[in-house]
Symmetry: C2
């Protein structure tokens, strides 16, 4: 459990806001991943991110309120607070789903629904002879090259949530990704070492 | 304005549920697109989809409640209703943002935040010499091949929201897509006719 009190919050309103939006979107992806794979550790990460998001939201509100110097500005700034509330609502929806995972209350239908959505979640095992091995996420740019958005990586017993651009793929890594069924299957072939050249490179 | 009363609702619980999830995700993408481009027509589509989603939610609840024959089943089915509520919460957040677009209350910062998120929204103009022209979305599979998720297409004066797989790209089409900045830039080069071969084909 990290200590959010000591967490660094971005300095300006825009950066806090961007961080809030990215975090809420990550929470939704993680919540669906947790529900699909019945992974309580992922669900717990969602709840930690919810706390982090609450702190970001508080800092955003303080800064936004301070910035208003007249009626017109106050009205405009209210739209920022409203959008922040929308992002917070989305994060709360993700947290609700994560709580259901922790309480082991995921109906089998929920799994089916996640699997059959237009964008779904997949678990991709990286074999030692895959071209992915030893390359960083920045070099690989899996999003552009395969259509798969990397949500998390399972390495041995530990999880890397929202891995950064420098993270290098290692043999045995399990990538949790979001994409269409076709995109996920394509990345699976690359990860298995069946496809040896990645497009767009 | 379509008449939702006459709309066909999928027959079984799973299909209704999948449709709800896809619709809510489309609403979020459309809401951000509407906010970014100040497009009231897109915002109105979000509000129409909200009505559609309410109808789906109602049908889901009726069917789910009917399916419970004992205490254990009732508890399991409650998790379905909870997840449906999460999806509904997400769709309401999207609708709130759409309403702000209609009321012209989008602070410039909101635009910047959407543009600077990890996944952002782009507008891609298709030139007549692009390899995209004349091909269907199914053939192109832009999601796998470029990392761009197609949200809507502007064709002349009309919008095609959530275009289906048979939709063929025409010269002059404006594609509204979601992806990373790199993925959107890559599709822009293809749409401009600069890149003549698409990967993975």
């Amino acid at each position: 459990m990290e200590e959010w009190d000591e967490v660094e919050v971005p300095k300006n309103v825009k950066d806090i806001f961007v961080e809030m939006k990215n975090t809420a979107e990550l929470m939704v992806d993680l919540a669906y991943s947790a529900a699909l794979f019945k992974e309580k550790e992922i669900a717990e990460e969602v709840l930690e991110l919810e706390e982090y998001l609450d702190i970001l939201n508080y800092h955003l509100m303080v800064r936004a309120v301070l910035a208003a110097r007249n009626m017109k500005e106050a009205e405009q700034i209210t739209s920022i607070l409203q959008m922040a509330r929308s992002i917070d609502d989305i994060s709360n929806a993700a947290a609700d789903l994560a709580k259901m995972v922790l309480e082991e209350k995921i109906h089998p239908l929920i799994t089916e629904v996640i699997l059959e959505s237009e964008e779904t979640i997949g678990r991709i095992v990286v074999s030692s002879n895959s071209i992915l091995v030893g390359k960083s996420l920045d070099e690989l740019d899996l999003s552009t090259n395969t259509g798969v958005w990397v949500i998390a990586i399972r390495r041995g017993k530990r999880w890397i949530f929202d891995p950064d651009e420098d993270t290098k793929i290692m043999p045995g890594d399990i990538i949790i990704g979001r994409g269409t069924r076709t995109a996920l299957d394509y990345l699976k072939e690359i990860a298995r070492g069946v496809i040896k050249v990645m497009s767009n490179e």
